[in-house]
């Protein structure tokens, strides 16, 4: 680990967003704007069954009656939802039947991002579902997974191949009506990943989805659904990047997790959407609803997120602790620099008895950015002996940024124990000078300090991701001190 640490520090050289390239590939796009016709267009493109179209149309009609939330501590110009392209698919010459048939341009794109779609080339066994704009272009290791009964495929495919599962679980954790953006997602979602772990199966490899926005003016609305049957286990990773563009682009995803009795799901995200430039121009609006339900007793859902990208983030991965003795965890590092704004946190909803939740949130703000933690811990009347521990730490670099904490606690059972701790600290000039005096330059010193600050969260990430994430932290904060 130490070795890697040093490597990472050495690699901090360029301060520019390095995933900002555009792939020159023809796209099959819907016209701009949103209407019932567009919803029908998307559904038809995907050759969906009638029930799916109905689901979408219902969500769309619902969305029309809803209002964009204004309570988050973020500011951005009103989004013109008629100015967004809701469907864009890279045109492939032929529909790929196997991984070998993938358009070389697309393959190159993912290679550039450090993701190999070549199964043989993967050293560590990580199965990847690669999603560009609105569609999944490749899913690796499908066969190997299917041997143990694990289903890992794109959402479009799941709708065709596993309609019973989708009908049963889609929207069961995040109903279309949950909020403005989840309704929008339900109406226009185009792709995403579906994964199903059967009873008693420990998924033999990490599953991951890599999301990439490529086309201009498009929004990305992916939908992920993970179902872990009784006694199963899966670790799931999500990564995302986008080209640098002057216009803001919308990303409104929904992720649902269902964990049955004694099942465990670990969901890790390294979110690195384009954050906009130094003046705050461009960047992704990241409005995401992520929620899991510990449906069975002794189940566990753990969210880990490293959020370094997006110009505006609005995201609260949550756990509904319905089963007795179930456990919910939320580990988060959110970095904001320049003009980025993040309002992120979690909700832990204790319903079952003896349920436990743990929240560790580390916010790092630099430049003129604003970083807010917003969290809710609620304990229902019957959730006796529930426990929560929350730790929210903020680290400030410079004095033009802001850190805010909004913890909400609602306890309706007097046997519950809810603890909340919060700290705010600053990287001081004297700390930097101390490092300098030991021969450590300022960039390296900052990387050292923030990695130390975020360690508890980083330790939760799977190894391959942890290294990447540490680099990201350092890079996102480059030039923010001294």
């Amino acid at each position: 680990m130490q070795e890697e640490n040093d490597d990472i520090l050495e690699q901090i050289t360029s301060s520019e967003y390095k995933y900002g390239f555009v792939t020159d590939i023809e796209a099959d796009e819907a016209p701009k704007g949103l209407s019932e016709d567009i919803v029908r267009f998307i559904s038809a493109k995907k050759n969906e069954p009638e029930w799916m179209l109905e689901y979408r149309l219902k969500a769309y009609r619902q969305w029309l009656t809803m209002e964009e939330p204004t309570w988050p501590n973020v500011q951005y110009p009103a989004i013109n939802f008629q100015d967004v392209i809701y469907y864009s698919a890279p045109k492939q010459k032929v529909a790929p039947n196997s991984l070998d048939e993938i358009d070389p341009e697309l393959r190159k794109t993912f290679e550039k991002l450090g993701i190999s779609l070549d199964e043989q080339k993967r050293i560590s066994g990580v199965a990847v579902d690669a999603v560009i704009d609105s569609v999944s272009v490749a899913t690796t290791f499908k066969e190997e997974l299917s041997k143990v009964g694990v289903i890992f495929c794109s959402m479009s495919e799941a709708i065709q191949e596993h309609p019973e599962l989708i009908k049963k679980y889609l929207g069961s954790v995040v109903p279309a009506t949950d909020n403005f953006f989840s309704a929008l997602n339900a109406a226009v979602f185009s792709d995403g990943s579906f994964c199903y772990i059967p009873k008693g199966v420990r998924c033999p490899m990490e599953l991951s989805t890599y999301f990439r926005i490529n086309a201009a003016n498009t929004g990305q609305f992916e939908r992920t659904l993970i179902v872990a049957e009784e006694g199963s286990y899966v670790s799931y990773l999500e990564g995302c990047t986008a080209p640098m563009r002057d216009e803001n682009q919308l990303h409104a995803a929904v992720v649902e997790i269902v964990a049955m009795e004694k099942a465990e799901v670990k969901y890790s995200t390294v979110q690195n959407w384009y954050p906009g430039d130094k003046e705050g121009k461009g960047g992704i609006y990241n409005f995401v609803t992520k929620r899991g339900i510990c449906a069975g007793d002794h189940s566990k859902i753990s969210w880990t997120q490293v959020e370094t990208g997006s110009s505006v983030t609005w995201k609260y991965p949550s756990v509904i602790l319905k089963g007795d003795h179930s456990i919910g965890e939320f580990y988060s590092v959110a970095v904001t620099n320049n003009f980025q704004q993040a309002d992120t946190g979690t909700k832990m909803v204790h319903i079952g008895k003896n349920t436990r939740s743990r929240i560790v949130s580390k916010g790092i703000s630099a430049g003129k950015s604003q970083n807010s933690y917003r969290g809710l811990v609620s304990v229902a009347k019957n959730a006796s002996n529930s426990r929560n521990f929350s730790q929210c730490d903020s680290l400030l670099l410079g004095d033009k940024c802001g850190a805010h904490t909004f913890p909400y606690i609602e306890v309706k059972n007097n046997t519950a124990i809810v603890e909340h701790e919060a700290t705010t600290s600053k990287i001081g000039e004297d700390q930097i000078f101390y490092c300098n005096q030991r021969g450590i330059d300022t960039e390296t010193a900052v990387a050292l300090i923030i990695n130390g600050f975020a360690k508890e969260v980083m330790n939760q990430l799977p190894m391959e991701f942890a290294v990447e994430a540490q680099k990201l932290l350092a890079i996102s904060l480059e030039g923010s001190v001294g």
Binding site: N5, D6, D430, F433, G439, G452
Partner: protein, 253 residues
């Protein structure tokens, strides 16, 4: 090794160093004494490259290079070390990891391969003995919750790890009990060689019983007003700083 000529520096419009002259040769130990507020820490900080201080005149040559032109980290990597009067705390960064980073940054600068985990551990074990510091302390966050004595010993430990050419010890003795003082002094004495030099800043002569200086200088109101051998320290101890003040006033009248 170090040649300071007519060094002047100020902070926020306030002149603090008013023309310092000092030459240190390899193998020597120099002590700087003086009442509080005379500019001892300022001199140490200016040499280490702290930006808060503005150098308004003079020059400093360090091993043939213009010290004042160098960044603080390059000064360190060239072999200048400052044991801070008030070492800062860095939460979340283990002392071990911190020192390893420092050691390897220096090695990189000197065109040497980084130490691997085993080599590093070996060196660390040796130096730990030297300053009687415990492994458990080094696993903790840098200086966080350390006692005064632990912080000072950690400074000397870092010095031992980095093997500087010139080490400046800013009141490393203050706040130490007699045992800790002996440990610190012992560390310095063992690191002493004909190739390195020490500048020991102290308020009391007590430390100089253990670290015997070749030269003693008295800094007063931003100037070196007396220089001599270790007897000067004893005289100061006996008569107090007021005697210097009184003498100086006589001279200026």
């Amino acid at each position: 090794m170090l040649k300071i000529e007519n060094l002047q520096a100020r902070i926020e419009e306030k002149e603090i160093l008013k023309g310092i002259n000092l030459e240190i040769k390899p193998g020597e130990i120099h002590a700087i004494m003086g009442p509080n507020g005379s500019g001892k820490s300022t001199l140490a900080s200016v040499l280490a490259g702290r930006e808060d201080y503005e150098v308004t005149g003079g020059s400093v040559d360090f091993l043939g290079k213009d010290l004042l032109e160098m960044s603080p980290e390059d000064r360190a990597k060239e072999g200048l070390f400052l044991a801070f009067q008030y070492p800062v705390e860095i939460p979340g960064v283990s002392t071990t990891n911190f020192i390893k980073t420092a050691v390897n940054e220096k090695r990189k600068y000197l065109g040497q391969e980084p130490l691997d985990a085993a080599q590093f551990l070996k060196t660390m074990k040796e130096k730990m003995k030297l300053v009687e510091i415990d492994q458990s302390l080094l696993s903790r966050s840098l200086n966080e919750g350390f006692s005064g004595g632990e912080k000072k010993r950690n400074e000397i430990f870092q010095m031992a790890m980095l093997e500087p050419k010139l080490a400046i010890l800013d009141e490393t003795d203050s706040g130490l009990d007699i045992d800790a003082l002996r440990i610190v002094a012992n560390g310095v004495n063992q690191l002493r060689s004909k190739d390195n030099a020490f500048l020991v800043v102290t308020h009391y002569q007590r430390l100089l019983d253990y670290i015997v200086p070749d030269f003693v200088h008295v800094l007063y109101k931003g100037r070196i007003v007396r220089s001599g051998t270790k007897e000067l320290a004893l005289e100061l101890e006996e008569k107090g700083y007021d005697f210097i003040k009184a003498e100086l006033e006589k001279e200026t009248v």
